[in-house]
Symmetry: C3
């Protein structure tokens, strides 16, 4: 039976998302069954670029408007410099022939990494399925725990 690896991606920053996907892709290359469980701000990694018309409450609308839309718009956990930091990191990734976050996500999907959006947080923050990218699973903490209990490597990022 394949080894399992799970990652909870709670944080919504570019650098942490990159770290999560590099570990996930590495584990998938070793034939681990890998699951990333996106919760809280981590869900922003999965948002579509474009504005999606939805029908939601004012608070949820405000949250949706203030949170970054997708993997191209995340900030850094350090040295963000009002948005300059992410551009520099993106530039450095390109210069060193490393994958960008959107490319890392695509590779993960190609390798069969399961990307699971936390339904409880989606409800809380007012995020709807049509606002998130294709190819996701939707589940709650119980599903995460079921995977984690069978995995050897479990990280919270």
């Amino acid at each position: 039976m394949a080894e399992k690896t799970t990652i909870v991606l709670f944080s919504g920053e570019l650098d942490k998302a990159i770290a999560a996907f590099i570990i996930a892709n590495g584990a998938a290359a070793y034939e681990h069954e890998v699951t990333i469980f996106f919760t809280f701000w981590g869900l922003n990694t999965l948002r579509r670029d474009e504005y999606i018309q939805t029908n939601k409450g004012l608070l949820e609308k405000t949250f949706g408007w203030m949170m970054p839309r997708g993997s191209r718009r995340l900030g850094l956990s350090k040295m963000n410099f009002a948005g300059m930091g992410p551009k520099i990191i993106q530039h450095l990734l390109k210069k060193h022939n490393a994958l960008s976050l959107p490319q890392l996500i695509e590779l993960a999907q190609e390798q069969g990494v399961r990307l699971v959006a936390c339904t409880m947080t989606m409800e809380l923050l007012g995020l709807q399925e049509q606002e998130l990218m294709d190819g996701l699973e939707y589940a709650g903490v119980a599903a995460y725990l079921g995977d984690a209990a069978e995995a050897k490597v479990n990280l919270f990022i």
Copy 2:
């Protein structure tokens, strides 16, 4: 023998504490033996609401005065907006019939989740037992490692 789950709660933010307790309560519902080890800013989650008269050094007093007193006063790791963010999250939790952090803590205690305060950090930050809520255990990193070495799911939050 029951499966074990351990969580180190290092961070002192509302959103991370909520995530920690949701995972802990989920694991306890699956009959895991769950331990949350509170260290550094995570200890603030356990502080009593009310001001407690203590006898301590000036620096420790200042730290005690600047750190939030308990689970109702924690900030957010993102979108804190000078204290507005936590109120919005608390409102959204209520609106969606989700448990508040104080309720999640109570449920954890009812389910037998062990809440362990790190004695070394308490000494360092000058926190005293009378400042923390009832029903806690007090231990050091050795006790945490003993639990973690027997657990399958170990998270640092």
Copy 3:
């Protein structure tokens, strides 16, 4: 066979680095084989105090100049107060006869904790071996995953 413990130190803050090394030293005292994998901002923990002349691109130079040089210069994840916070923590560690971060690192090396610098991040941020302390190993995410898959305790800090 000895139990294994791995820690990814991603964060570049004093408080998180202290937590990582306290856990690592505790596990080593229990005869675990312990590896700390330093990536992203965590690499700053390993930088030499002194300025090292290097030959690198402008962006990498700027990053190198803006990031803290070594374990004596890290900030705090909370209550940093423009650099006062770390001084207070260092003072409190001393007052309570606890080890400082440089001492914790030294103890870890004496106990055989493996300190591994992530080569991919080094390339990305433009950090060179001569800028980092002695006694390190250099490896990529594949090596980390090899260790983590054999370990019971795996933390991301």
